[in-house]
């Protein structure tokens, strides 16, 4: 409740109106200030679960998504098996038809075999995603060096 003199109330109303105007963006354009850089929009970490499996963990920021079919994996010093990708959400795209995307948190299991004596693997994961506001990021490469766990015989 406001109990001040009328001129102050008028001034406050004027200010309120100005703030309202300012809250409406001048155009529907996206500014880069509204967007996260890809490494923050698509947070990534990885670890070796055991001597034969890597686990990749993603946290996709709200308002962003990754395409399920755009992942590519490469490693030095190890042979990678077929990645186990969880089912994604279905998205109808005007150009690409029915596509699967990931939002929020998800994990990818990646089997590997490394020769005896290898203790570290450099993993490179390529992914590609977009923001709901209507922009996409070029394919982004996460690089991580992982210590290989040797299970006890």
């Amino acid at each position: 409740m406001m109990h001040g003199p009328p001129e102050r109330r008028r001034a406050l109303h004027g200010l309120g109106a100005l703030l309202l105007i300012a809250a409406v963006p001048p155009a529907a354009a996206v500014t880069d200030a509204d967007l996260l850089p890809p490494e923050r929009a698509f947070r990534f970490s990885a670890l070796a679960l055991d001597a034969g499996r890597l686990e990749l963990r993603y946290t996709v920021a709200p308002g962003y998504y990754l395409y399920r079919d755009k992942f590519r994996f490469q490693a030095d010093a190890a042979a990678l098996g077929t990645a186990v990708l969880p089912p994604g959400q279905s998205r109808r795209d005007a150009f690409f038809g029915e596509v699967e995307i990931y939002r929020g948190r998800f994990r990818i299991l990646l089997p590997f075999t490394a020769p005896a004596g290898v203790t570290r693997i450099e993993l490179r994961v390529l992914s590609q995603g977009c923001a709901d506001v209507g922009v996409c990021y070029p394919p982004y490469e996460h690089r991580v060096e992982l210590r290989v766990r040797r299970s006890r015989a």
């Binding site: 001048p26 354009a29 890809p38 150009f95 922009v135």
Partner: protein, 176 residues
Amino acid sequence: MSLRLRWLAYGGAALLAVAAGVGTQLWRQSGGEAPAAAVAALRATRLPDLEGTPRALDDWRGKVVIANYWATWCAPCREEMPIFVKMQAKYGDRGLIFVGIAIDQRAKVAAFAKELGINYPILIGGLADIEATKGIGNTVSALPFTLIFDREGRLVKRHLGGLKEPELEAIVQQLL
């Protein structure tokens, strides 16, 4: 300080903050203050067109140039491109030229250009070329990203995200 003066001071500070916010927003969209050296470097960068001939934006000096960074894997990019085709046909003879800079593979770009009937030059760039737009306001290197230059080669607008036809038409008519 009287109560009224204090309110005036608050109001003044709030107004300044609002003005600064709006100013920053407009600056980001207008592109007027992009570093001249970064803009000059970008305009001089030579990239192969679909026939393999190296071209730079500077080759089209004297025309209103709309440089559009895009890719076939980018749905919002594909969505706005029919507008460019239409406007190129409508205003091309008055001195408007769109230049598509594809961050993509040549074969995919050529197939899509044929499918859409693209009637303006397409250059093939790489990740380094979209990275280079960081210096002129596209700090997250996202697509689509569009730069509009006047006939003197001055950057008059930069736009991240898809463009709408009425908005683009108004700018073009002003510059031609």
